[in-house]
């Protein structure tokens, strides 16, 4: 008959047994810590992307609803003529739609250089919470197509890493931004690395304080190096034209005729 280990402990507990117990517990704690760190790696590299993808799905629906609900174009003096009809029999439409809340779907961005399927819903706001859902629009910057600087920040690692390969953009590359029934076509003009506090890149005319903008430009910001926070990667572009987005049903079939803004 085999005596159970607990019985042994109950009878005689030697110093060696105690030591083995202590070492055993330390071992368990270390193994547990290793598992937790491993899980954290899974969370960082994989799970944040899953969460972002889920949020993008919801945002896609919100954006479609927003587009079919005839959201007004850019607030303020806008570059593109307002060719969207007046919101008819839509008395429920909240006026507050002009000021989207942080995390709300704001625009759709496509960058063919980053892949034909590279399409993201840009949310409003650049706080950490909003940016987990997708690239975020700096709330004080211009709207797409508007005179001034349309600025967007996005993750380069984790959370679906929309801007992971932003450094591969070249001068002349197209960036499409859809909002309010129009798709605006920007062309990349420059790309550079700067310090995190360089808010000059967000100015209406980037890098030139006090100048009143007379053109519509675009700015993308993300971290640099990819897994670091010591610098920022900046991409500037300027508006090259815009097209009317046909409608929600057949917009997948391509873009309409080109119009010069």
């Amino acid at each position: 008959m085999i005596a159970r280990a607990t019985d042994t402990y109950a009878c005689v507990v030697t110093t060696g047994d105690r030591m083995r117990g202590v070492v055993g517990v330390i071992g368990e704690v270390l193994i547990t810590a290793g598992l937790v760190v491993g899980l954290f790696a899974v969370y960082t590299l994989f799970w944040t992307g899953v969460e972002t993808a889920n949020q993008q799905d919801a945002l896609e629906e919100q954006f479609e609803a927003l587009s079919s609900g005839d959201v007004q174009g850019p607030a303020g003096p806008d570059a593109a003529e307002q060719d969207t009809p007046e919101p008819e029999e839509n008395d429920e439409a909240p006026v507050a739609e002009r000021q989207p809340l942080p995390g709300d779907a704001f625009a759709r961005m496509r960058i063919p250089r980053l892949g034909e399927s590279w399409s993201w819903i840009v949310v409003s706001g650049v706080d950490l919470g909003s940016l987990t859902a997708g690239p975020g629009h700096y709330p004080d910057s211009a709207s797409p197509g508007e005179i001034g600087n349309f600025a967007v920040a996005g993750h380069r690692a984790t959370y679906g890493e929309p801007f992971a390969y932003l450094d591969t953009l070249q001068v002349g590359d197209e960036i499409f931004v859809e909002r309010g029934g129009r798709e605006y076509r920007y062309l990349v003009t420059e790309s550079f690395i700067t310090v995190p506090s360089d808010t000059g890149v967000l100015l209406p005319v980037p890098g030139q304080p006090g100048i009143v903008a007379d053109e519509a430009s675009l700015t993308l910001t993300t971290c640099h190096p990819r897994w670091g926070s010591t610098e920022r990667l900046i991409v500037h572009g300027e508006l090259a034209g815009s097209t009317k987005v046909p409608s929600a049903q057949n917009q997948a079939s391509g873009v309409g005729e080109e119009a010069v803004a």
Binding site: V25, E28, V29, V36, L39, F40, Y43, T44, W47, T48, V126, L128, L131, G136, Y138, A153, G154, H155, R156, A157, T158, F163, T194, P196, S197, D198, T199, V201, L202, T221, T222, C223, R226, W227, G228, S229, R232, I234
Partner: protein, 53 residues
Amino acid sequence: MYPWIWRHLPGPIPVKAMVALALVAAVVLLLFYVVFPWAITWVPGQDVSVDAS
């Protein structure tokens, strides 16, 4: 630690196993939805906007 927890789980072995699995699941959920979202703010590369501060 783990033998101590195992000894304090109620019921026969199959029940103990189920409770143990539930405990593991609870800990993983706690990590993924509370601890990790808090911890990731210290991972470099989370600052993607330019900011004067």
